[in-house]
């Protein structure tokens, strides 16, 4: 056990730190065009899709280097790259399961954010039970005809393409009848409606597909292999970002301490209140434990070990922590923590929350509710941990009795 960085990794960190401090945008990026321009700058410097193989435009970077870059990005308070789902897991899915033609057509444009991507998985009646999805893709000979509704489509309103799970064979057991497509969002049969969330903002959308088209050449893997592909690639969503996430929490903690120093209760700074101090100590300890755990995961990835079902522990841990974290922040800040507009300078939070959006404490608090639901809710993660990590018996489920 040795947690010191290798000389190469230290050199890489210094290089990344210097680059971000020299290049980070000095003012807030508000439009998609501005964010795309920043994305391109990072892409050209080699900080986007670092883990992708060189032949597809990445730099074949180690998990450690990817984590270092993400960490430095967070440290510099740099806006995140766009097309996160495309770069993070849709591209890698195409690399693993796609045809030569698909790789040629899509990969480069994903990295450069020339084409934006979204994920068309969840449906109104298929949340945790994703495999029950009902969107149909019927084989019409030269193409598939797609009908159905998707929901919780992050970035759907700006997406050019989506990775789509749809049912191609209703006659077989539910997990076997699903196929995976690369799906054009810019066609007449596709309607995207933003969903207004509890944050008041709209990062997510509903997507309605009415007699829309998926090309035969855009089927990923085999017919009926969609569920398997979705299972093997969901893991791409997690892993290397955990260090950066903790760096963002730490930056919020500094803001919190600053506020606690300037705000007072009963004539003394909040920071001198023993109750506040106990809360600060607790939350800091939990945050550090997230960092140590992230280092441990990273160390395993670095050795080429696949975390598999154990990545559910990571997801459960940070998403539940994030909820407790902002709850405690708002407890400490009292009504100041809930101000969304017109806040005193010392009570604002201008770091990125995990959504990558500039935010207030209130926004971060509200947004934290999403983390324990998306990408497999905490309850689903606990099922996975129970069954696949601890080896507890599967529950008897109505849909398993049939199959």
């Amino acid at each position: 056990m040795d947690l010191t960085l290798s000389p190469e990794d230290r050199a890489f960190r210094d290089q990344a730190r210097a680059w971000f401090s020299a290049n980070v945008p000095r003012r807030e990026l508000t439009t998609l065009a501005e964010r795309r321009a920043w994305h391109r700058t990072m892409y050209e410097a080699g900080y986007v899709g670092m883990g992708w193989p060189r032949e597809y435009g990445g730099r074949g970077a180690t998990p450690m280097q990817q984590a270092i870059a993400a960490d430095e990005m967070a440290r510099a308070n740099a806006p995140a790259p766009i097309n996160g789902l495309g770069v993070g897991f849709i591209g890698p899915t195409i690399i693993v399961h796609g045809t030569a033609q698909q790789k040629e057509r899509y990969l480069k444009k994903i990295l450069a954010a020339d084409e934006m991507w979204c994920q068309l998985y969840s449906e109104p009646n298929s949340g945790s039970d994703l495999a029950s999805l009902r969107t149909r893709a019927e084989d019409k000979g030269d193409h598939f005809l797609v009908n159905g509704q998707k929901i919780w489509t992050s970035g759907g309103h700006i997406a050019d393409w989506g990775i789509l799970l749809a049912r191609t064979d209703p006659a077989v057991p539910k997990h076997k009848g699903i196929s995976c497509f690369l799906f054009n969002m810019r066609q007449p049969g596709v309607e995207v409606r933003p969903l207004k969330q509890i944050t008041g903002s709209s990062e997510f959308n509903e997507v309605f597909m009415t007699n829309a088209r998926a090309e035969k050449s855009d089927l990923i893997g085999r017919l009926g292999q969609g569920w398997e592909i979705a299972q093997t690639t969901l893991g791409f969503e997690r892993g290397g970002n955990s260090m950066a996430r903790v760096t963002r929490y730490a930056s919020a903690f500094d803001r919190l301490v600053d506020a606690a120093r300037k705000l007072s209760r009963g004539g003394r700074p909040l920071l001198d209140d023993p109750v506040v101090r106990a809360k600060l100590g607790r939350v800091y300890a939990e945050m550090e434990v997230q960092r140590y755990a992230a280092l441990r995961v990273l160390s395993a990835l670095q050795k080429g070990e696949s975390p598999g079902a154990a990545s559910s522990i990571t997801k459960l841990s940070y998403s539940e922590f994030e909820k407790r974290y902002y709850e405690l922040c708002l407890e400490i800040l009292g009504p100041y923590g809930q101000v969304t507009d017109g806040a005193l300078e010392e009570t604002t939070l201008d770091v990125d929350s995990s959504s990558g959006v500039r935010s207030s404490w209130a926004y971060a608090f509200l947004w934290a509710r999403a983390g324990t639901i998306y990408s497999g809710s905490s309850e689903i993660q606990k099922n996975v941990i129970g069954e696949r990590v601890l080896g507890l018996p599967k529950e008897i489920r109505a849909d398993r009795v049939r199959t």
């Binding site: 010191t4 120093r261 606990k382 099922n383 129970g386 507890l392």
Partner: protein, 367 residues
């Protein structure tokens, strides 16, 4: 960067586990619970032969010159076995003597400890429950090359079997840590009966107890002892928690109610998943801190406080939830779960409770 154990560290863990599974079975723990002395001299001698007592001591005193990560590995296994033993305070005191003691102290105690002939402990708490140096009341009066210690130390682990004790005391305004032989005239020990008979504690009264003037370690020995004691306790608590998790999961697989193993019910499965999460986070916290202290990392003291405060809560939850998963059987004296539950609980207030360490954290990060 490598967070996993090296091959040697794994070997150490496996051999420690195999040894304790064989020589410190729950029945043996129960025998020692009923024993007035509370620990086994035979087991202590075997630990010495295995090199556990001198693990972190230099080779010239019979040690292996390994570090805190290796020590924590053994402490985790001792906690997993709920082994009643003065291991933690002995190696803690020994490493402080090694680091700060003069040649006379070192040659007097270190070979004796490494070879299993002597046991040691640390007297960190007094009647006031604060662990901060300012609240130490014990006085050290220097008279003609001799020091006389007066005061009362509370909750001293394994004082009744210790040959030597590290005693923080105040000489005027200056704080120091004295290396006191427990046979010194003026030192008396009153054992306490506690909830965990595997963690023996005593009240130590110093009534002009005599110490040689050179048996004096500088005040920094105190800030050396506290974080290392905290990490050692965290490692034992982690071991106890892991044992409870293992027992709960095994039980949930075989215990049937409503015609199914109870582990198939989400109410039970989710609890077990949460327990695993706490155990894995506790592992990360404990070994990060052990590594940081060993390698002199910038955040070492902070990491020790993070580990102790986190694992305090986590181990209490995990061991308690294991009782809940077991239901009624887990509440019986006959079933072994309470051995580990009590071990973890006994260590909570020692070497700084969670609130103490949270305050230390805030002092460091929010100056």
């Amino acid at each position: 960067m490598d967070f996993s154990f090296s091959a040697d560290q794994q070997l150490l863990r496996n051999s420690a586990r195999a040894f304790l599974d064989e020589h410190c079975k729950p029945a043996h723990v129960r025998t020692l619970w009923d024993d007035p002395r509370g620990e086994s001299d035979a087991l202590w001698k075997e630990m010495a032969q295995l090199g556990w007592l001198g693990l972190a001591l230099p080779e010239d005193v019979g040690g292996s010159a390994l570090g805190l990560v290796e020590t924590a590995i053994l402490q985790e296994e001792l906690g997993r076995a709920a082994c009643p033993s003065p291991y933690l305070p002995t190696v803690l005191a020994a490493t402080a003597i090694d680091r700060f003691g003069g040649p006379a102290q070192k040659s007097r105690w270190l070979p004796a400890i490494a070879s299993g002939r002597a046991r040691a402990t640390v007297a960190l708490l007094e009647r006031d429950l604060s662990l901060s140096p300012e609240s130490i009341q014990t006085r050290a009066d220097e008279r003609g090359g001799k020091v006389a210690l007066s005061g009362m130390k509370q909750f001293v682990p394994w004082a009744h079997v210790a040959d030597v004790m590290l005693v923080p005391a105040r000489a005027g305004d200056a704080l120091a840590v004295y290396v006191v032989e427990t046979l010194a005239p003026g030192l008396s020990i009153t054992p306490l009966a506690g909830m965990d008979p595997g963690t023996r504690l005593a009240q130590v009264t110093l009534d002009g107890a005599a110490v040689a003037a050179e048996a004096r370690l500088p005040a920094e020995a105190l800030s050396f002892l506290l974080p290392r004691g905290a990490v050692g306790a965290a490692a034992e608590m982690l071991g106890a928690a892991r044992r409870c998790l293992d027992m709960a999961v095994e039980y949930a697989k075989v215990r049937e109610q409503f015609g199914q193993p109870i582990g198939s019910f989400q109410a039970i499965r989710h609890k077990c998943a949460e327990m695993l999460l706490e155990v894995e986070n506790s592992h990360a916290a404990t070994y990060y801190a052990a590594w940081a202290l060993d390698s002199g990392a910038e955040d070492a003291m902070l990491a020790a406080s993070v580990a102790k405060s986190y694992v305090n809560d986590a181990s209490r939850k995990v061991c308690g939830d294991a009782i809940q998963v077991h239901g009624g059987i887990g509440f019986t004296w006959e079933y072994d779960l309470h051995l580990y539950f009590k071990r973890a609980k006994a260590l909570e207030p020692l070497y700084g409770d969670a609130e103490h360490h949270r305050e230390l954290i805030v002092r460091r990060v929010a100056r």
